[in-house]
Symmetry: C2
Subunit: 129 residues, 2 copies
Amino acid sequence: MNYSRQREIIIDALSKNAVHPTAEKLYDIIKREHPESKIGIATVYRNLSKLADAGKIKRISALENSEHFDHNTFEHYHFMCEKCKQIFDIDANIAPDITKKIFEQTGFVVKDYDIVLKGVCKNCQHRNN
Amino acid sequence: MNYSRQREIIIDALSKNAVHPTAEKLYDIIKREHPESKIGIATVYRNLSKLADAGKIKRISALENSEHFDHNTFEHYHFMCEKCKQIFDIDANIAPDITKKIFEQTGFVVKDYDIVLKGVCKNCQHRNN
DNA sequence: ATGTAAAATGATAATAGGTATCACTTATTA
DNA sequence: TAATAAGTGATACCTATTATCATTTTACAT
């Protein structure tokens, strides 16, 4: 990855804005704070995506851009296999009392959650592609 | 909520397809299994949304349709306040060893996660609207 | 310093998931 | 069974994101 002034600005703006902004939000911030830069919105999207792929920043996106629905409303979490794209259920006792703990540590009342873990499922681990 | 044949088909299809389908996927399944129904895609979206609002099914969507980015790549989770829409960091020790536990219980290798908890932050609890 | 190839940019067209609109149909209930 | 509320299908629209492409920057060998 070569150096670019725009990328530097983007990384800098993201590190100074700990609000987990969207690409759009970050674009607004940059335009406001660097009116001379004339940065394009595509550059922001492009760089955020590239930086996330490179592991320099984290993309928070859960289920790759489309909503999924679950008939089971009983508390449980989800695991999405990167290879076969299937979503599996994970028993809630993996992280018991998470709601209670968060309230104790932060005072935040948890009403809902999307806990999506990603990786490779058992089946796909034994496959080549 | 009144009865409708389409809604019945949607609920039935969702309960029989534990793969956590998207609205689009469910629409395809329904067209295939009920070719007589002539259901429209908008009806599927509308009903899934309504059913999720009513708590009859669960919507898995994390961050309401746009990706967010985080400069901090060190393991931690997120809490989104429903009222002020801010995203806060939650320390990873809330659910320690989650990766290890999942591997032990399921054999799935976790490589990444989006753990997004939603509710009301401390500040907003003391506000009226 | 300078030429060249690879990488990056900005503007904008294109795409895709999801929602709004509206005329029409179906359920509910008095 | 008539009146009204709720639901439907078709499709236009919106919005987040990606692709395209001509132009500009960067890296780096000369």
